[in-house]
Amino acid sequence: MNMLQVSVWRGGADGEYRNYEVPRQESQSVLDVVTYIQRSIDPTLSYRFACRVGMCGACAMTVNGVARWTCRTHVAKVVKGNAIQIAPLANLPVVKDLVTDMREFFDKWARARGQFAPQATRKDAFARVASDSPGRVAANAGIECIGCGVCYASCDVVSWNPDYLGPAALNRAWTLVNDVRDGARRERLAAVAGDAGCHACHTHLSCSERCPKNIAPTASIAGLKRAVALAAWKGEL
C-alpha cells in the first residue's frame, strides 16, 4: 500500500517531530491524516477540529511550513514526494502537539474594538443599508472571516512585534468602521492606531496570500491606515 511519511509535532513548544506512516487514500485531507494517526496509531495525539467542512476555523495547522485549514487542504495539494510535516500554528503559544492557545488571538479582536456598538433602540425602524453602498461593499469584502488564525500565524509583523493586533482583528475592525449602524467609529480608530496597530503593517501580503476564505486583510488594514491617518490629521484621534 502507498504510505505517507508524516512528521508531526509532539509536545509543547520544546517538543519534537515524530514520524508516522499513514495509508494514502484518494481525496484525503490533511485533517484525515491527523485523525488517522490519533485513531489508529497514537490516541494521545492532541488536535482541534469541529465542522470538517471549512466553516468553524478550528483545524488550522502548519502544513509543510505554511499555515492552512487542514479540513479543506487535500494531501495531493501539499505533499512533497510522499512526505508531509504537520506543526501547530506559529505565533501562538503551543499547548500540546497541534493545539495552540488562541486566547491572545481573540483578545486582540476585543482590543481592536471588534464589538458592534449599536446606536438604535428596539423602537427604531430597521436600518436600510443598500447592498451596493460603498460601506456595505467594503464590509462584505471582509465579513466572511471564520477566525481560523491562519493570517495571524502567517504574519511576520506579529512575529516581530507580539503586541501587533494582527490581520484578523484589524479586518474585523474595518468591517465595523464601514457599518453605518455602528456608533463607535472614533473609539475604534483610536484602538487600532499606535505601534501595535494598523500602521505597523508592512503589506507583506502573507495574510492575503494564505487566507483560506480569500479575504484580503491587507486591503482592510490599508483602509484603517487611511482612516486613522485622516483622524489624526483632523485632531480626532
Partner: protein, 128 residues
C-alpha cells in the same frame, strides 16, 4: 502580553502611541510621494550625466549658481531626512528588538545629521 490585553479588552482604550505612530506614517508616506518625484529626476540626471562623461566640471556646470538645483536638492534632502530615519526606526524595532525611548532620540539625531550633511553637500556643489 495577555495582561496588557485585559486592560484593553474591557473598554475602548486609545492604543499607546496612537497619535505619534499615525503622524510618523503620514510623514513617511508624504515624504515618499516627494521622494518619488525627486528620485525619478535624480535617476534621469544620473543616467544623463554618465552618458555625457562624469567629470567635476560637468557636475558643477549643472549646479554652480543654479538656484533651481539648490532648491530641488534642499527639498530632496529634507524628504530623505524624514523618510530614511523612520524606516530605520522600524527596522531597529523589528529586527533588533530595540523599542525603548532611546531609539526615538537616536533616530531624531540621524534625521538632523542627514539633513545638515545633505544641505552641506547641496551647498557645496552650488557655491563651489
Amino acid at each position: 502580553m495577555s495582561s496588557a490585553g485585559q486592560t484593553y479588552a474591557a473598554g475602548s482604550a486609545t492604543a499607546p502611541g496612537a497619535k505619534f505612530e499615525a503622524w510618523l506614517w503620514i510623514a513617511q508616506r508624504a515624504s515618499a510621494a516627494v521622494l518619488a518625484l525627486c528620485v525619478l529626476v535624480h535617476l534621469v540626471t544620473i543616467i544623463y550625466a554618465v552618458r555625457h562623461g562624469l567629470t567635476g566640471a560637468a557636475i558643477l556646470g549643472r549646479t554652480q549658481g543654479n538656484g533651481a538645483a539648490l532648491a530641488f536638492y534642499t527639498l530632496y534632502v529634507l524628504a530623505i531626512a524624514v523618510h530614511a530615519p523612520i524606516g530605520l526606526r522600524t527596522l531597529c524595532q523589528e529586527w533588533l528588538g530595540w523599542r525603548s525611548a532611546s531609539l526615538n532620540w537616536v533616530v531624531a539625531g540621524i534625521a538632523l545629521a542627514l539633513f545638515a550633511f545633505g544641505l552641506r553637500a547641496g551647498w557645496a556643489v552650488f557655491s563651489a
